[in-house]
């Protein structure tokens, strides 16, 4: 329902309520219904409009953030004012119409206050329903966004080239080394399962992340053969540190795709992690062809890693990426 329509209904309802009750009041004095309606209609319509204006009072004083006292005070005050106006209208209207129709003004005043307060209560109720519905919608939107982000992250982690090339390797092994083909299929399944599981977590240990990295490298080693060598050197203490999941995996993937894969003779990817003085230091170092084609600026993988580190550490983590003399080196310092 649109806002204008709603306002019309509200005025209508309140006017009808005021009309019905005051006609009843007049009929107790033996006044005919037609005359009573003619007498009661203008003041009732006025009360209906005033009642609608209470909408702004309800908006200005939200039920959650305003004190009960101040709400009560302003409701009572505005109810008295509204009812006063309604009684005043009655009086002037009766004066024009016929003084014999004069109702009991005390009773009328009480009726006005009652109707006004009821209107305010209904307004608050409607506002509350709106607020909770909005909150529900926002929560839903957030859940959808979070899910999308998850999927995007997953897609970003998994380079389609990696998947198709790995499947090609499996197809190749089937002909010559079926047992190795089975093992490669197993590696792939383990890797994808792990990436889905870890990706859904808030924090994981560095050891868990390196387990994922190791599985990834095992697959790439089947593809690249002797060209890909790795050395991983991690302190036990460093392995127990908590890191955001899938922080290193894309960086290591970069080290393979843009590093070792760009070298005819291949090379070694070095991964080191130490914990000293409450600071986790991680280093990824790999050879890279300075003349490679995709050599320009900071790639999406690095930017993502930098952004996530910044968020999880509230800006205290430092990440550096530098390329010198054919080696690409990413270093991360993350306070524990």
């Amino acid at each position: 329902m649109r806002r204008g329509e709603l306002a019309l209904y509200a005025i209508g309802a309140l006017t009808a309520a005021a009309l019905a009750s005051s006609v009843f009041l007049l009929s107790t004095k033996g006044i005919s219904a037609t005359v009573a309606i003619a007498a009661a209609f203008p003041p009732s319509l006025l009360l209906g409009c005033i009642g609608l204006a209470s909408h702004y009072l309800c908006r200005a004083m939200p039920i959650q953030s305003s004190s009960r006292g101040s709400i009560a005070a302003s409701v009572v005050g505005s109810a008295a004012a509204a009812s006063g106006l309604w009684v005043l209208t009655w009086k002037s209207w009766i004066a024009i119409l016929d003084r014999r129709l004069a109702p009991d003004y005390t009773l009328l005043f009480g009726l006005g206050v009652l109707l006004y307060v009821a209107t305010v209560a209904v307004q608050y109720l409607v506002l509350e329903i709106d607020i909770s519905r909005e909150a529900e919608e926002a929560a839903l939107r957030y859940r959808v966004l979070a899910r999308e982000a998850e999927l995007r992250a997953f897609k970003a982690q998994v380079d389609p080239h990696f998947l198709f090339n790995s499947l090609n390797a499996v197809a190749s092994l089937c002909g010559s080394r079926p047992n190795d083909a089975r093992q490669m299929a197993q590696h792939l399944a383990d890797f994808f399962r792990l990436i889905l599981r870890l990706g859904a977590l808030e924090r994981i240990t560095l050891a868990e992340e390196l387990d994922l990295v190791t599985r990834y490298l095992a697959i790439e080693k089947v593809r690249f053969g002797d060209r890909l060598k790795t050395r991983i050197d991690v302190d036990d203490a460093a392995g127990q540190c908590l890191v955001p999941p899938l922080l290193l995996q894309p960086l290591v993937e970069n080290a393979v795709r843009h590093g070792v894969a760009s070298m005819v003779e291949g090379g070694t990817i070095d991964i080191e992690a130490t914990l000293r003085d409450g600071m986790l230091r991680i280093l990824i170092d790999n050879p890279a062809d300075p003349d490679r084609a995709d050599h320009r600026g900071e790639g999406i993988g690095l930017q993502n890693a930098r952004g996530r580190l910044h968020t999880v550490s509230e800006g205290r983590a430092v990440m550096n990426a530098a390329e010198t003399e054919g080696r690409f080196r990413v270093s991360i310092e993350l306070p524990r």
């Binding site: 080239h161 198709f164 090609n168 190749s172 002909g175 010559s176 593809r223 894969a261 005819v264 320009r296």
Partner: protein, 242 residues
């Protein structure tokens, strides 16, 4: 016999091609290469009928290999995944194999290849530019002695036209390549390299300042002090960009 060269940097990818090809009596594998340099050399040496070519490889990618070939074998790209490239292949009626591929698919491709060999077919070298989905990232030059040089764009100050050739200026050294400057201009990222003059493509990162030289003609002074002519239309292009 169809003299064939396999080019792929992954040993297993070469294995499966070799295995499938062995089933075809008409195929004679004369060389297997693990990177683009080897491929260019092997094609010059063996003059094959068929080249099975991977795209992502160290040193030279598949497109750069095409560009450097003096001879034109039938080329079949063997690639993992590259939507844009695939569309380009289809436009030029080039065959490709999507990894992983079935034996049947390879057989079908070989059938078509057999119809093409022995017949005149379009030279492939000119296709490289239109197959590449994104702007050129580096320039490859083959010297008379067969050595290949790769120059990343970031290292280039400016490129000058010299008849039908270009002269590439990089930090004090120059390199000559047989290519019309207009062809190169079309392949470069227009936000990085600007045709400031009919015969000059300038790396805009190198510009220090631009001075008025004479009425209606300007000169760009580069970081290293080199002076490069800037025409009126060239200046308009620069102003639009900067």
């Amino acid at each position: 016999m169809i003299r064939t060269i396999i080019v792929d940097d992954e040993p297993l990818a070469r294995d499966v091609l070799r295995e499938y090809l062995a089933a075809d009596e008409d195929i004679d594998i004369v060389a297997e290469c693990a990177n683009g340099f080897e491929a260019v050399k092997a094609v010059a040496e063996h003059d094959p009928d068929l080249l099975l070519l991977d795209i992502q490889m160290p040193k030279l990618d598949g497109f750069e290999v095409l560009e450097l070939l003096d001879r034109s074998p039938v080329v079949v790209f063997v690639t993992a995944h590259d939507e844009y490239a695939l569309r380009a292949f289809e436009v030029h009626a080039l065959d490709y194999l999507l990894k992983p591929f079935s034996h049947e698919r390879l057989r079908a491709v070989l059938e078509r290849v057999k119809q093409q060999t022995g017949r005149e077919h379009t030279p492939v070298a000119g296709l490289a530019a239109s197959l590449r989905a994104k702007p050129l990232q580096r320039i490859v030059v083959k010297h008379d002695d067969g050595t290949i040089q790769v120059i990343p764009l970031a290292r280039i100050d400016y490129v000058e036209a010299d008849d039908d050739a270009i002269v590439i200026h990089t930090a004090g050294t120059t390199l000559r390549k047989q290519q019309p400057i207009g062809d190169l201009a079309r392949e470069l990222d227009p936000d990085r390299f600007v045709r400031v003059h009919r015969s000059v493509l300038l790396n805009i990162e190198r510009i220090e300042k631009i001075e008025l030289y004479a009425k209606d003609s300007r000169v760009a002074i580069l970081r290293d002090g080199t002076r490069v002519p800037v025409s009126r239309t060239g200046y308009a292009r620069l102003r639009e960009l900067l």
